[in-house]
């Protein structure tokens, strides 16, 4: 669009300049209206026009370069978004797996998956796109709650402590699932120009 405008501007300047040069040549005294003076006037105009044309070209290249840079940044942002959404979806799947393993009393596997879940939650915390949602006490509490549940399940498995309220553990997992779903939807539908 900008390039088209510049082209029209260049043509207008060239036609206007040619008319001005022609008019100037016509207005100078008859004795000075020689071929040499005509070439001098027109040559001077062409030199100035060339400089202007070069300037417009440089401006065009600069704009194109900025637009390319912006497009790359947008693509990177989009890729990061897609990766983040994929990680969050994975976390929700892991929560479902943990709940299923707990029902089947496969505590060792549930513990492993809980550690995977904690890894994703920490990773998400450092995602710049989600920083405004994860830099709060609720999200931090989600992580420490999970850390505490991991310790408690581990203590149960190794026999260090007896008894674990699986209903409460399940409730904590549901809270994490709600938080993650909320983040996923914010990433998908809120505030991003692509």
């Amino acid at each position: 669009m900008k390039q088209g405008k510049d082209r029209i501007l260049a043509i207008i300047i060239f036609i206007g300049g040619t008319l001005i040069v022609g008019g100037t040549f016509y207005l100078i005294p008859d004795k000075d209206q020689t071929v040499v003076n005509g070439f001098t006037l027109f040559g001077t105009f062409l030199s100035l026009f060339g400089l202007l044309f070069a300037y417009l070209q440089i401006q065009n290249i600069k704009t194109t370069s900025q637009q390319t840079k912006l497009a790359i940044e947008n693509s990177m942002l989009r890729i990061n978004q897609v990766l983040s959404i994929s990680e969050l979806s994975k976390a929700i799947k892991i929560i479902q797996e943990i709940q299923s393993f707990i029902i089947q009393e496969k505590h060792e596997i549930a513990l492993m998956r809980m550690k995977d879940l904690k890894f994703i939650l920490i990773q998400v915390k450092y995602n710049e796109d989600l920083a405004k949602y994860t830099n709060d006490s609720i999200y931090n509490k989600t992580i420490t709650d999970l850390g505490s549940d991991i310790t408690n399940l581990n203590d149960l498995i190794i026999g260090h402590k007896k008894g674990l309220n699986f209903s409460s553990l399940n409730k904590n997992l549901e809270n994490i699932a709600t938080t993650i779903t909320d983040l996923e939807n914010k990433l998908k539908y809120k505030g991003y120009d692509t």
């Binding site: 931090n140 992580i143 420490t144 850390g147 549940d149 310790t151 399940l153 007896k162 008894g163 409460s168």
Partner: protein
């Protein structure tokens, strides 16, 4: 012997809890309570071992939920054990709002109005 940093921590927690300025929550263990801080959390738990020995522990979690330090005391640690159990009791009372409940009961008992509630009527004459 309780390490100095834990002694300070327990003392400060007792103080905050006594002043009703600490919000304790419950974890997935029946007698474990958790205090969430800006950078991490603290849990305090009390249980009986398979040999019937009473144990109390306090765990410090970092912001990633990792156990960074802990102190576990058994009943044979005498005074130190009692010292930590006091914090556990304070956390438990704070979580269940024991003092507030008693205060509210006393307030109701001291008032002139009739206390207690009828069973809701089912609309039947018998």
């Amino acid at each position: 012997m309780i390490p100095e940093n834990f002694k300070t921590l327990i003392e400060k927690l007792k103080d905050k809890t006594a002043k009703k300025e600490a919000i304790w929550t419950k974890t997935s263990r029946d007698d474990e309570f958790k205090l969430d801080l800006e950078q991490g959390a603290i849990t305090i738990d009390r249980w009986e071992s398979s040999f019937g020995q009473s144990i109390v522990d306090i765990v410090v979690l970092n912001e990633h939920g990792d156990n960074v330090d802990s102190l576990e005391l058994t009943i044979s640690d005498n005074n130190d054990y009692e010292y930590l159990v006091e914090l556990h009791n304070a956390a438990k009372r704070a979580y269940y709002k024991v003092d507030e409940t008693f205060k509210s009961i006393f307030k109701e008992l001291d008032s002139d109005k009739t206390i207690g509630k009828d069973k809701p009527s089912d609309g039947l004459p018998f």
